[in-house]
C-alpha cells in the first residue's frame, strides 16, 4: 500500500543543511501495523508527515496505493488525503472551540457528506469510542484519555485505509495509554493499516513490525514474532 524509494528530506536554514531523512526506502502492506522507533530528532515525525501527505519529500519517490504522490501539489495532496488517511497526535490536537461531536464531524464536513449521514457516522464512532455521553462537551472538560479517544474517533470516522499515529500515548498515563493501544489494535484487526511513531517499547510491542530510524536512515527492521503469528 505504501512504498518509498530513497525518500529524502532536507531542512535548510541560512547556512546549515540538515538531512532529516536520508534515502529511506520502505514498504507497508495493506492491513499491516508498523511501529517506527528511534531517538528524538531521528526523523520519525518527518517520515510520518510525508507518508501522511502533509509534507513533500525533497527527493526520492513515494507511492501511495501505487500512485506516485511525492511530487503532488498541496491541492492534490489534500484531495488524496481526504477520507484516506486519519491522524492521531500526541497532543490530541482537538479544536477547543468545538464540541466533541463537532470535532469528530470535521473530516466528514470536508468530505461534503450530508448532515444526516454525518450524524449517523459520528454517533456510531462516539459510541464505539465509549464517549457518546460526552458528545456535547468541550475538549477541555475531558480527561486526557477521553480526549485521545475523541481524536481517534475523528481519525477513523471517515473509514480511512490508513491511520497515522504520532506518539498517541505520549501524554497519557499507562491505563489510558493501554486503552488507546487496544483501540488501535482493534482497528487494525478490522483491516485498517496503521503506522505509529513511538518512543515506547511497550507500545511498539503491539505492532507487527518495527522500523528503527537513526539520523534519518533506517537502521534495522524487525518483525515482531508474537504479532506476526497472529497475522
Amino acid at each position: 500500500m505504501i512504498q518509498t524509494n530513497k525518500l529524502t528530506k532536507i531542512f535548510r536554514t541560512e547556512d546549515v543543511e540538515t538531512y532529516a531523512l536520508n534515502e529511506v526506502s520502505m514498504e507497508v502492506k495493506r492491513g499491516e501495523f508498523v511501529a517506527i522507533m528511534g531517538p528524538s530528532g531521528c526523523g520519525k515525525s518527518t517520515l510520518l508527515n510525508i507518508i501522511g501527505l502533509l509534507d513533500n519529500p525533497s527527493g526520492g519517490e513515494y507511492y501511495f496505493d501505487g500512485t506516485e504522490v511525492g511530487s503532488y501539489k498541496e491541492r492534490q495532496r489534500t484531495m488524496m488525503r481526504k477520507g484516506n488517511i486519519g491522524f492521531v497526535f500526541q497532543s490530541f490536537n482537538l479544536i477547543d472551540e468545538l464540541t466533541v461531536y463537532e470535532n469528530v464531524e470535521l473530516p466528514l464536513i470536508y468530505l461534503k457528506k450530508k448532515a444526516s449521514e454525518r450524524k449517523e457516522m459520528v454517533t456510531a464512532v462516539l459510541e464505539r469510542m465509549k464517549i457518546g455521553h460526552r458528545a456535547k462537551h468541550f475538549p477541555q472538560q475531558l480527561s486526557g484519555g477521553q480526549q485521545q479517544r475523541v481524536a481517534i474517533g475523528r481519525a477513523v470516522v471517515a473509514n480511512p485505509k490508513l491511520i497515522l499515529a504520532d506518539e498517541p500515548t505520549g501524554n497519557l498515563d499507562s491505563k489510558n495509554g493501554l486503552e488507546v493501544m487496544n483501540l488501535l489494535t482493534e482497528l487494525n484487526r478490522e483491516g485498517t493499516t496503521i503506522i505509529m511513531v513511538t518512543h515506547s517499547m511497550h507500545d511498539a510491542g503491539f505492532a507487527h513490525r518495527v522500523i528503527n530510524l537513526f539520523d534519518g536512515e533506517i537502521l534495522t527492521e524487525n518483525v515482531n514474532e508474537k504479532m506476526a503469528d497472529i497475522l
Binding site: E74, T78, N93, I95, E97, L106
Partner: protein, 796 residues
Amino acid sequence: MLFQYIFRNIKKRPFLNFIKVLGLALGLSGVLFISLFLKNELTYDSFHNKADRIYRLTYTNPGIFGNNHFARIYNSEQVPDLAAHFPEIENYARLAPLRGGVMMHNERYYSINEAFVCDSSFFRVFDTELLVGNKHTVLEAPGSMVVSEAFAQKVFGDESAVGKIISLPAGQFYARQTDFTVKGVMENFPQNSHFHPDLIATPAQDEISWWAYTYLLLKEHANPENITAGYSQFTALKAEEFGGESETKAYLQPITDIHLHSDKLREIEANSNMTNIYVLSVAAFILLLISMSNYASLNLGMAGFNNKFVTINRILGSTRNMNLKYFFAESLFIVLVSTLVALAIGVLVNSLIAHHFGIHLFRGNSSFIALVVSFFGLLGILSGLQPVLKQRVGQIQQGKQSLIKSNKIKVSQGIIISQYIFAIGLIVAVIIISRQNRFVLENSLGAGHKNIICFESVHANVQQKFEIFKSELLKHSSIESVSAMLEPPGGEANDMFPFEMEGYSKAEKERPNMIGVFPCDYSFAELFNLDFLSGNNFSQNNSDTEGSGEFLINETAMQFLNYNNPQEIIGKEFRLISPNPEVTVPQGKIVGVVKDFHLSSLKKRVEPLVLFKRDKLWLLNFVVSFKPGMRQTALSDISSLWQELFPAYPFIYEDVDVLYKKVYKTELLQARLLSIFTFISIFISSMGLLGISLLVSQQQTKEIGIRKVNGAKVSEILAMLNKDFIKWVVIAFVIATPIAYYAMNKWLENFAYKTTLSWWVFALSGMLALGIALLTVSWQSWRAATRNPVEALRYE
C-alpha cells in the same frame, strides 16, 4: 533595565508596533488640526478688544424688501439719533460699502474687494494695528483714508502711502469723483475676521446714509435687549422725521456670532455655519475614538506575547505594580514616539495650509497645542494600559491559556465593529456631500458650461459701452455669446419692485404686490440656455418705449401671479413701478415663461423673478461665453478688445463655475476635509484590522493546522478566517445605515434643493467597507491558510 526590555519587545514585532505608532500619530495630527481649525472658527472676530460689547444692528420690516433680513441696514442715517436715544450705546461704527469695484490713483484704476466709507469712530470700535498713523486722530478729518498693508503695497509699492490721494471715480453709483487723502496704513485684517477691508475712509462731503453695515459698541454690562425692545418706541418718536415705520423690528447680533450664526442677505463675506462645526467635531471625535480603540485593541491582542515574560516575572516574585510599570513605560514610549511623528506631520501640513489657504493654525496657539497633545497622550497611555487594567495578564495561569485566547478575540470584535460603523458612516457622508455638491453645481445657472467667464461689477463707464463691447466681441469666431445682467452668477437678486398686472388684484388674497426684478441683456436666456415653458425671448431690437416693454418671468413668478398654465399668462399686460424716479421701466407684456434657474445658492428657494431688458440699466456684470476648445484665443481676443475700449480699467474676470464654487465654499471644504478624515480613519482602522487579523490567525494557527490535516482546502480555510470579518462588517453596516441616513437627512435640510438619499449610496458604502476589510485581512488569511500544517502542529 525596563527600557531595555521594552526596546527588545518592540524590536521583536516591528510591524505591529509600527502600526500602533502610525495609527496614533495620524489620529493625533488629525485631531490636532481639527481642534485648531475649530478654535479658529469659534474665535472669529474675538481679536477686537471690546468684542464682547460690539453688536451688529439689523432690521426686518414686512413692508420693505419683503421682510427679508439683510446684514446691513437701509436707513443708516438714523444711527446717530439712535445712539443719542439709548444710553446703552457707547459708540457706533457704520460701514457703507464703496461700490463700483475700483479706486483710482494717478489716473490708474485699482480693483478693490472690500472698501467702506466709515465713521471716524472706526478705531474706537474695532481693533487692528496701525502701521502708520495714530488711531485716535487718523480718521478725524473728512475724506481721510486708511489703507490696508496689502492694498498700499499694491498701489504704492515701497513708496510711502501717507498724503497720497486715492479717488472714488464717478460712475453708476456716484455722480462725481470723490478724493480721499491717505492718512494711515493698517495691518491686514486677520483671517478670522468676518470682513477684510482694503481701505476705509471717512465721508468727504455728505453724511453716511442709506445702506451701511452698522455696529454698536455698548457700554459695559449694558443689555442689548433694551435697545431691540425699545426700538419701536424710538421709531414712534422719530415717526415724523422718518415716516412711521412701526413695523420695523431691530436685531442686535454679537459680532463674535456673525461668522457662524448669521446667514442674512448681503453679508460682507460668505460666512460659515454651525453644521460645519458639528461635522468636523464629529470627525475629530471619531478619529480620536478610532485611533485610541485601535491602539487599545492591538495592545490587548499583543498582551498575550508578553504573557510568558510577565508570568515568569510574577513567579520570580514581581508584583502587579511591576507589570503596571512595564505597560506604562511601554505605552509612554509608544505615545512619545507617536507624538513626535504627529508633530513632524503637523509642521508639514501646517506649512501646506499656510501656503494654500493663508491660515496660520499654529501661530500663537502653542499652549492650546500643548493641551491637545497632552490630552491625547494621556488618553493614549490609558488605552495602552488596557491589558493590565483588564487584568488580562499577570495572573499566573494554570494551563488554561486558551480561555484567555478566546476572550481576547471578543474584545476586539466590539472595537472592529464600531470602527466599521464609523467607516461606513463616513463613506456615506462623503458620497452624499459630494453628490449634493455636484448636484448644486450642476444645477446652478450656466453650470456644466465650462466656457463662461464673468466680469463682476464693472464700472459705470464700462457699462455704458456694453453694446460696443458686445458687438465687437461677436465679430470674433472664438466668441459664442455675450450678455450682461444685474447680479453675477452666484449673487443674490434681492431687488424688488411693486408691480401691476392685467387681471391680478392684490386685495384678492392679501398678497404682497412686490416682485423680484432682474434687468438683463437680450442674450441672457440664450447664453445661459434657459428653458422656455412658453413664449419667446425679448425681441432683439425692441425700442423700449412706453407700452412696448417686454418681460420674461420664471416659473415661480408665474405661480406667484396665480397662473398654472404657462401659455395663458403670455401677452398679459404688466407694469413695474420703479421706486426710484430716475429709473423707469416701460409698461408692456409678458412675453415668455422660463423654467426656474438657480442664480443664487440652492440652499434658498427660487423667488419669483421678472426679467426685463433695458439699455444701460443696471447691467453691472458682463458674461461672455466662448466656443469649446477656444479658451486661449477667446481670452486674448477679449483682452485686446478690453484694452482698446477700457484701457484704464482692470481686466479682471472669473470663470462662472469658480463663482459658484465660492458660493458653496463651505460645503466643498467640508467634502474635502471629510474625505481626508475618512481616508485617515479607514487607513487607521485597516491598519488595526491588519494587526488584529495577524493576531487572530496566530491564535488560530493550531486550529488551521488541525482543519487542514482533516481535509480542509485552502479556500475553505480562507472562508473560515474571513467569515468573522465579513460578519463584523455586516453588523456594522446594519447599525451604521440608519444613523447615517438620519444624519445625512439632517445635513441635506440645509438645502432647498437636494439629491435623493438613494439606497445604492448605502449599499456602495457597505461594499466599499467590506472590500477594504477583506483586502486588508486576506493577505494575512492567505498566509495563514497556505502555511504547512506540520509547522503549526509540530510544537504543540
